[in-house]
């Protein structure tokens, strides 16, 4: 099983790297301007248009390539903010314990019980959807799971002898948290980050599908939305609907595969904590 996971890691990272490269070089890779009308509407895939055209005559392949950016940026950005808040809250809560811990744990309980996705929809619509708004909203609504797990890990950890040793030397709390606690939970933080990335990517495309994508960017969710609403599904225009869906599924699978490999890697030490 171990070797198997390693293959998964290599494949996952390669696919992810390929997507990142595509996102960076999308202006070069796209054969046409994704906004320009370059052919007849609803052309089937042909030599000029690799994946055909949509109902406006825009090149689907170019739009697909350019849409990679939005998903990757929101995925990584949202996950970074989630894990940042979650790790800070988790470390402070677990390290200090007592009243602070009680208060933060209750705060986590309350935020966790909020209806996250409906709130995300309403707030995204209210704040006018853009890449930055989405990252911000996902970050402040989605950090609780991470905080809870980090806390329980830090709780076990801060009772260990060497932390008392460092305290006895006279190190400040901040110093201990940054220099001793954080490096020891870093593997767990990394695993959480990878899975948070997957969640944020799926949410980004999902929101795009609901019509809440950044209007100034092309994204896969909006592509699926348009194809679905304009009848691409009902009429069986597979080349219109399929590419963005297959892309997000591929990307999400690659990220999940990396996450599971990492999780397996840190398993011997941390398996008890990953709930």
């Amino acid at each position: 099983m171990y070797k198997y996971r390693k293959i998964g890691l290599v494949i996952g990272i390669s696919v992810l790297a390929a997507f990142v490269l595509i996102a960076i070089f999308s202006p070069v890779l796209a054969p046409y301007d994704p906004y320009k009308i370059t052919g007849a509407p609803l052309e089937k895939p042909n030599r000029n248009h690799l994946l055909g055209t949509n109902n406006m005559g825009q090149d689907i392949f170019s739009r697909l390539v350019c849409g990679t950016r939005a998903t990757l940026i929101v995925g990584f950005g949202g996950a970074l903010l989630m894990v940042l808040i979650g790790t800070c809250v988790g470390i402070i809560s677990g390290y200090y314990g007592g009243k602070i811990d009680e208060l933060l744990t209750r705060a986590v309980d309350v935020v966790m019980a909020l209806p996250m996705f409906p709130l995300l929809i309403m707030l995204a619509m209210f704040l006018k959807p853009s890449i930055l708004t989405l990252i911000f909203l996902m970050g402040i609504l989605g950090w609780t799971g991470c905080a809870r797990i980090i806390r329980s890990q830090v709780l076990l950890f801060s009772e260990s002898n060497f932390i008392s040793g460092v305290k006895a030397i006279g190190a400040s709390d901040i110093y201990i948290m940054v220099k001793h606690v954080f490096p020891n939970i870093l593997p767990l933080v990394l695993v959480k980050f990878v899975f948070a990335t997957q969640d944020c990517m799926l949410m980004e495309v999902g929101l795009g599908f609901l019509g809440l994508g950044d209007p100034f960017m092309i994204d896969w969710g909006q592509m699926i939305n348009r194809a679905y609403i304009k009848g691409g599904f009902a009429l069986g225009l597979w080349w219109w609907l399929l590419p963005p869906g297959v892309s997000i599924a591929f990307l999400s699978l690659a990220v999940a595969s990396v996450g599971h490999s990492f999780e397996n890697e840190i398993n011997p030490r941390l398996r008890r904590m990953i709930l």
Binding site: M1, Y4, R106, D109, V110, M112, A113, L114, P115, M116, F117, P118, L119, I121, M122, L123, M125, F126, Q198, L202, V205, G206, F209, L210, G211, L212, I224, Y228, F233, L241, G245, I248, A249, S252, L253, V255, A256, S257, H260, R271, R272, I274, L275
Partner: protein, 302 residues
């Protein structure tokens, strides 16, 4: 002790509700429209709003009371949600428990991969694929909607609704099984590693006895507290599945509200979803306090 625990949980439920109401209030206040008590201070407006919400006056969406509209749609959503939650818990717990016990086997690894794959595909994609395969090509299920055209002459029949709801329920179940499976499998792994399991084995108890009397009982406990999270996950996924299947529930209503930029309707949807999650949370707490004796004596840290 149990009463104290439950009172504490009620307090948090109320707090959650008030925070949700606070957020929807903050959003609604920014939307230009005639609003009761606009001449008063913000605090007074907040209390007027809470009073109205508790009274069942959730505002109007294009002249129709929001609560009435949502109430009608909720019924349809629950037709899909309740069976899907039950099925996904049942299957997820069974499969998770089995492979948590037989961890490390070849089958365990492949099931884990299948679950990873299932979880990675977005819900609307499962819905689209299932319609293409089972409705379009195999013609086993209808393409969408909630009843046949024949209902116009013959009236609504339960079997017809069941027939239409089958595929949405299957899709939602497939989408949510990996969540319960992961939790149950992890919970099993944790429990099997406990010292008291080692003790039980050392006493020479049979594997079957250890599994049913010691491991399963304890591994099930954390599952109860995870049910509300699973509900929130399902509510999110249900939005997409209802849209693709044209099922006339809260999810499709959400889609229409977004398209119409109807904030008062969205506010109502957020409130009803908050209530659903709070109810799920509270029932889990109630159930938990019954099955975990540590709460009765106040020993456990919960």
């Amino acid at each position: 002790m149990r009463a104290e625990y439950l009172i504490k949980r009620v307090f948090y439920s109320v707090l959650v509700f008030f925070i949700t109401v606070g957020i929807t209030f903050a959003v609604l206040r920014q939307i230009p429209r005639s609003y009761p008590g606009l001449d008063k201070s913000v605090i007074a407006q907040y209390f007027v709003y809470i009073y109205n919400v508790l009274q069942g006056d959730w505002g109007y969406s294009q002249g129709v009371p929001v609560l009435g509209l949502i109430w009608e749609k909720l019924y349809w959503s629950l037709i899909i949600l309740v069976p899907a939650i039950s099925l996904s818990l049942l299957i997820g717990i069974l499969v998770g428990a089995h492979f948590g016990w037989k961890r490390g086997s070849k089958m365990d690894a492949s099931v884990l991969n299948v679950m990873m794959f299932t979880r990675a595909i977005p819900p609307y994609w499962w819905a689209i694929m299932f319609i293409l395969i089972f409705s379009f090509h195999l013609d086993l299920f209808p393409l969408g909607g909630y009843m046949s055209i024949s209902a116009l002459d013959r009236g609504i029949s339960y079997s017809d609704i069941l027939y239409h709801s089958a595929l949405p329920i299957i899709t939602l179940t497939v989408y949510s099984i990996p969540g319960t499976y992961y939790l149950m499998r992890n919970s099993m792994l944790l429990t099997v590693g406990e010292d008291y399991i080692l003790t039980a084995r050392a006493k020479g108890l049979s594997e079957k006895y250890v599994l049913f009397k010691h491991v399963l009982k304890n591994a099930m406990l954390p599952m109860v507290t995870m049910i509300p999270l699973e509900c929130a996950y399902l509510i999110a996924g249900n939005i997409f599945i209802e849209i693709i299947f044209s099922w006339p529930g809260i999810g499709l209503l959400t889609f229409d509200a977004i398209a119409a930029k109807d904030f008062s309707l969205l506010q109502g949807i957020v409130l009803i979803d908050a209530l659903l999650i709070i109810i799920a949370n509270f029932s889990a707490d109630l159930f938990y306090s019954h099955i975990d004796p540590r709460i009765k004596v106040g020993g456990g840290n919960v």
